[in-house]
């Protein structure tokens, strides 16, 4: 039941979004872990077309990553256990950040630590890049490292304390990327909001597993990994919707299996102010351009003149009339 009048000229559609004071020309970003530090994609398209880039997760010191095999494709998705391999905060600031900053897109630096102090140390280290970093996207949800990581995103009080400690050491706004594996996503989102996070990214990968029946070994060396891709989109939409309904003023960046403009619009209707494309970048390095184009055309077709007006505008089904046994 769309209320606006008929189709519009796609070029007239206003896709701009405000995310916690950050003005985005449109909502299409790319997700952490799926875009490296930007460079591998620069040969495929002009990255300035993106609203923003979330970097590979950065830790205080470099990490070599997990044993192999690290990835396995599953139905409409993939499992990964890369192990948060990254160059570390120092090298990132020195060698990777200048390239991203020069693009002029919104730079979201994803970060994590192996323990509480490492999170704080990483936030403090990255603060030195505050002139060129728009958002610190704090990963409290990666299922791949054995200690730290996952626990922080599972218990509201723990997440709250950690986010508060990081917020205290940096001037860069912090957006917390939450785990779909937590029991109560609304409670976690509320906890990190009250700790000073300006928004949340929903969702990280869903913990999963696959087995090779011939060798009887897990398909991943670490046994479990993170499931991404279209397979997790319904889970992501549900969580975005739940959090938005409970905390309508908390900006949400939505992600999980997005590969079309229609997918992106679903996330906006569920309550996301911007979206990130993840796994689809691997198969189609220019996918963000297509999603943006499809989103613009779809908005025009549906009479959505201003995308920001429909954030969270998913409509409930009307209740059926009360049932009564028929009497003849």
């Amino acid at each position: 039941m769309v209320t606006a009048a008929g189709p519009l000229d796609p070029s007239s559609v206003d896709l701009s979004m405000d995310f916690a004071g950050l003005s985005l020309p449109h909502p299409v970003m790319v997700a952490s872990g799926c875009f490296a530090y930007g460079e591998p994609y620069a040969r495929f398209f002009d990255l300035r077309a993106l609203a923003g880039i979330a970097t590979k997760g950065i830790s205080p010191a470099p990490r070599a990553g997990n044993p192999v095999p690290r990835i396995w494709e599953t139905a409409a998705g993939m499992l990964n256990s890369i192990g948060l391999e990254n160059v570390g905060a120092e090298v990132f600031l020195r060698e990777k950040l200048p390239f991203l900053a020069d693009l002029g897109v919104s730079v979201w630096v994803n970060f994590f630590g192996e323990d509480f102090d490492a999170y704080v140390a990483c936030a403090r280290a990255l603060d030195r890049g505050k002139d060129r970093i728009d958002v610190l996207e704090m990963n409290v949800s990666c299922p791949n490292i054995q200690k730290g990581g996952i626990e922080f995103g599972m218990v509201p009080e723990v997440a709250h304390d950690l986010v508060r400690a990081c917020v205290a050491v940096t001037d860069i706004p912090i957006v917390v990327k939450l785990s779909p594996n937590a029991q109560d996503n609304v409670a976690i989102a509320d906890a990190v909001r009250s700790a000073g996070a300006v928004g949340v990214s929903l969702i990280n990968t869903v913990t999963g597993m696959a087995i090779d029946v011939r060798t009887r070994r897990p398909r991943l060396a670490t046994t479990y990994g993170g499931l991404s891709g279209p397979a997790i989109k319904p889970i992501a939409l549900r969580i975005v919707h739940q959090v938005h309904r409970a905390l309508p003023d908390l900006p949400i960046c939505g992600m999980g299996g997005i590969r079309t403009g229609e997918d992106a619009l679903e996330f906006v209707l569920a309550g996301a102010r911007c979206i990130q494309i993840g796994t689809a970048n691997f198969a189609e390095p220019t996918v963000a351009l297509r999603v943006l184009d499809e989103l613009r055309r779809l908005c025009a077709e549906l009479g959505i003149a201003r995308l920001a007006d429909v954030v969270g505008d998913v409509r409930p089904w009307p209740a059926e009339p009360a049932w009564k046994e028929a009497r003849v």
């Binding site: 875009f35 490296a36 591998p40 070599a64 990835i71 890369i82 279209p230 691997f282 198969a283 390095p285």
Partner: protein, 284 residues
């Protein structure tokens, strides 16, 4: 075992900068024996791969929506024209099954050329012993035909192994190019009975006795490559292995295709550092 300071000197990890993402269509499909299929893709806008280094590869994805999610990596078998590329496929799982079943004319998307291939064969370098097993044939097939086209077929010896006679495909073009081919099958139905590493070991022993300079280029199943690597380490013969790994992107973004290596870092990447690696470097 290789000490860190012995790690072969190679350029640091850089993604191939000449890769393009482009659309094409299946122009030709030839069913070969043993479940192998040769696919030819044509494209209007894409890279001219006629001079591509053997071992470089293409990511191919069919006209699918959500599933299978990713493309599949294939070593480039040939590029007969500036707007065509060929791959050799064997059905292993969901992706290869879908690709093999595509009708001629089906649209595909491709990313190519990716990775770092073998160096060209030279007139004054060591004699090259090429070792191919099963679906590892394409890079060495291309390498051998390139050498032949350059008048260097005498610098090449081709060792090609499979489970049985049906498993050996595209042998005739090699023979026609004047390349000496040693075939081996595990069931003895064609060529030397047993694994391809048996005649290779004999050849390496002969080279050692004669003081002949040789080098090995190999591609095939991991079991075969492990055996070739052992021979390389025992004999000290310079050996390059063309590896494969589960790969989501092919261009250095996903970090899924890590290869365990000796040296200052524990892993390198099959897609951007390889797929061709020095056998001594691989940490197997």
């Amino acid at each position: 075992m290789l000490a860190p300071e012995d790690q072969p000197a190679r350029p640091s990890s850089v993604a191939a900068s000449d890769a393009a993402f482009f659309e094409g269509r299946l122009a030709e499909r030839e069913t070969l024996s043993g479940g192998y299929v040769r696919l030819v893709f044509a494209y209007a806008e894409g890279p001219d791969l006629r001079a591509v280094a053997p071992g470089r590869f293409v990511m191919v994805r069919g006209p699918w929506e959500e599933d299978p999610t990713g493309p599949r990596a294939f070593s480039i078998l040939d590029a007969p024209a500036s707007d065509r590329l060929e791959i050799l496929l064997k059905v292993y799982g969901r992706g290869t099954r879908r690709l093999a079943a595509m009708p001629v004319g089906a649209p595909v998307t491709m990313t190519a050329p990716l990775g770092r291939g073998f160096d060209p064969t030279t007139a004054d370098g060591p004699r090259r012993l090429l070792v191919a097993g099963g679906v590892g044939l394409p890079p060495l097939h291309l390498l051998a035909r390139r050498a032949a086209a350059a008048g260097l077929s005498a610098r090449i010896e081709f060792f090609y192994g499979g489970r049985n006679a049906d498993d050996l495909v595209l042998v005739e073009p090699l023979c026609e190019a004047g390349i000496g081919v040693v075939l081996a099958t595990e069931d003895g139905s064609r060529g030397v009975p047993g694994r391809v590493t048996v005649p290779l070991a004999d050849r390496l022993a002969r080279a050692a006795r004669a003081g002949e300079a040789v080098e090995v280029c190999a591609c095939g199943p991991e079991g075969m490559l492990r055996a070739v690597r052992s021979l390389a380490l025992e004999t000290g013969v310079p050996t390059q292995l063309c590896l494969e790994a589960n790969m989501a992107c092919g261009f250095g973004a996903c970090l899924g295709c890590a290869v365990p290596v000796y040296g200052p870092r524990p892993y390198r990447y099959c897609c951007t550092d390889g797929p061709v690696f020095d056998a001594r470097e691989v940490r197997w």
